[in-house]
Amino acid sequence: MKFTIQNHKDTRSGFGDGLFELGKENDKVVALCADLTGSMKMDAFAKAFPDRFFQTGIAEANMMGIAAGMTIGGMIPFTGTFANFSTGRVYDQIRQSIAYSEKNVKICASHAGLTLGEDGATHQILEDIGLMRMLPGMTVVVPCDYNQTKAAVKTIAAHNGPVYLRFGRPKVPNFTPVNQTFELGKALVYQEGSDVSILATGHLVWEALQAADLLTQKGISAEVINITTIKPLDETAILKSVSKTKCLITAEEHQLFGGLGETVAGLLAQNTPYPMEMVAVKDQFGQSGTPEQLMKHYQLDAAAIIKAAEKVLSRK
């Protein structure tokens, strides 16, 4: 599959636009936000459905509890705040009142990872995938662009059970099909190849495609797979790919500990291990900078993926 950039859009707008459309289709959908309506792109929903929108103030823990309670008559609450305040700030509320209580809450988290940029490390959570994936029953979804985020919003509403939806702040290439259907738990093979598998998630998927192009020029055939759902992981697709390529790299805007890389490593260790490299943040906090500077500094860009690919090939 060859992708072209349709435009540059932020994934958080995919969330906002998806939520707005979902609101029109399904009157069971309610939304809660903790003083970040504009940043979360929830204003369209708030304006169109004032009776189904709840401003909680800067009180994320309370928001999670209210959302859990609101599921009582079949309502589908979507909570909105930054990824840091959607997870770490409220972890036990999610664990006990949502996950362990099997409440159908959709935790929607923007500004994930380094690419929120200048606000710096306090806001740049790089641990959220790990935190969420550890919870029994939690589904963890990380779409890669605007179109895919928008599609994912509709799909998670149809799924019965708690979901963590992770997206980001900056405008990035929007390249996946408009009006796609998003399938939970399905990894998407974006480019077939035979030498190395590149499993990427979120903003790193586009970088992986760029890296694969450059690798082709070097005579290396890379298979690029978009891991749209970290949990449940598409084990079949991953095992199928690596049984062909016999080595792999993972790429994510997340801490190495607990992220996609370790998740996949766990899968392979329990099946057939192959040489593997992980493109991720290596046990560090982030810092202020532009998104581009940070992705370069922490080696999360196409160049880093190429380097990792060359390294893993040498270990084959």
Binding site: D35, G38, G57, A61, T122, S288
Partner: protein, 274 residues
């Protein structure tokens, strides 16, 4: 009584210049808090810019990390680090992180902050430790009014009066605004005075731009025995730049380089206001 309006004016100028250079950041409440910071660093706090780690210093815990620009400008202006360094605000590798980060080693930073609702607990811990050690220094904590919507803040408020930490003084930046609009529309806070009082605090409502009133309030907080004190400091978001005053859209925006000159002109007009 000696006042510090000129210092506050200088701090505001540095805030605007550093934010315009950064291209992003929180202008509104940084400007709004300039008087509180000028009074604290020029009159109230026992501290030494040339020896920032001086063991006996009073501690200032900034709970609302987003107003880092006012802290940085005040510290640089007071001599903690070169004023030139303000130009690196929010840039890769800078000690002046978008929200204060202890790991970057900027002198004068007591706590990393940015996620709201944590600072008062840490300030309380410092005050409790000082009581155990019979230290006479004081701990100050700067909070936002929207921040008071975080339940964790009220855990600290409850515990501080329980532990009778009269060596702790909180300052609430009562500008009435937060990101999504006026606090009373987003999530009602009033009556703040009654709420803090009923949690056992000594409560002083004060004009956050009146230096004499602020100094009096800090002084009476020092004299208070057996209770922590909170200053509910009424401020104007964006204070000093008329065209953006009281506009919550300026919570998290920085002036562009083109806007800077106009803003500085506006600031100039408010220079001699004491």
């Amino acid at each position: 009584m000696k006042t510090f309006y000129e210092q506050a004016w200088q701090i505001r100028k540095l805030i605007l210049e550093s934010l315009a250079e950064a291209g992003s950041g929180h202008t509104g409440s940084s400007l709004g808090l300039a008087d509180v910071f000028a009074v604290l660093y020029h009159q109230v706090l026992h501290h030494n810019p040339l020896n920032p780690d001086w063991e006996e210093r009073d501690r200032l815990v900034l709970s609302i990390g987003h107003v880092a620009p006012v802290l940085y400008a005040t510290l640089a202006h007071a001599g903690y680090f070169p004023v030139e360094e303000l130009k690196t605000l929010r840039k890769l590798g800078s000690r002046l992180q978008g929200h204060p980060g202890r790991d970057f080693g900027l002198p004068g930073i007591e706590l990393s902050a940015g996620s709201l609702g944590q600072g008062l607990s840490v300030a309380l811990g410092m005050a409790m430790a000082d009581k155990m050690d019979n230290k006479h220094r004081r701990t100050y904590c700067i909070l936002g009014d929207g921040e008071l919507q975080e339940g964790s803040v009220w855990e600290a408020i409850m515990a501080a009066s329980h532990h009778q930490t009269d060596n702790l003084c909180a300052v609430v930046d009562r500008n009435g605004l937060q990101i999504d609009g006026p606090t009373e529309q987003v999530m009602k806070l009033e009556s703040l005075e009654d709420r803090w009082k009923s949690f056992g605090w000594n409560v002083i409502s004060v004009d956050g731009h009146d230096h004499a009133a602020l100094m009096n309030a800090f002084e009476s907080a020092q004299k208070m025995k057996g209770k922590p004190t909170v200053l509910l400091a009424k401020t104007i978001m964006g204070k000093g730049v008329k065209s953006i005053e009281n506009d919550y859209h300026w919570h998290g925006k920085a002036p562009s380089k083109e806007q800077l000159e106009g803003f500085l002109n506006e600031l100039n007009k408010s220079r001699y206001y004491d």
